[in-house]
Amino acid sequence: MVTAATSFGRNGLADWVVQRASALVMTAYVFFLLYFIFATPDFGYEAWKELYSQLWMRIFSLLALLSIVAHAWIGIWAVLTDYFTTRLMGPKATAIRLVCQLLLAVVLVTFLVWGIEILWGL
């Protein structure tokens, strides 16, 4: 099982659970933001800044960000291991897939660090 070595939780059931738990966190985050934007009477910079200065909002946002990282890793892993295969791309498929996963890892770590900087105003 070569492909399982790059999956998120090393087994399908773990990935399945993480994919759904992270989906619920992100769905809650999206609905909350929409609610906040539309339900705030004078929505503007002040209200926005105030919201993101709250510790609970920073933690909620960090949870959403961690969910994005895990969810994207599992999702893109599924896409790459389905299409970047020797049958579809020839003998170089695994090498190409690993390069793509490496690039994705760099992108996702960048999102994580950048997000923490944004949330804590660093």
């Binding site: 910079y45 800044k49 944004i118």
Partner: protein
Amino acid sequence: MNHKRPVNLDISTIKLPVTAKVSILHRVSGVILVAAVAVLMWMLDTSLESAEGFASISEIFSSTPAKLLLWACLAALAYHLVAGLRHLLMDMGIGESLEGGKRGAVLVFVIALVLIVLAGVWVW
């Protein structure tokens, strides 16, 4: 088992049923969302920087190309979210039959389309 039986795994020659179309678009929208996250995080970063930064976001998104970009991000998000909720419902055993799967797939397209139109109204 006869190992010489003909097997067709060439997906491009197979007519996709509506359930497969919902599925492949879920994947396409997911890949697009990885890029969309960068746009949304840049918006969050700029909007929290200062009152001028917050104002500059509405300024920048008054141009048509920027509106189209934002709409594309929101459209991918709306579609992916709706298709994902269908997965969660199916995990709970709702809409798992062949008929239920097809009906759910059509519902995903209809609901996502409505949300995408609403997102367009919001952006413009």
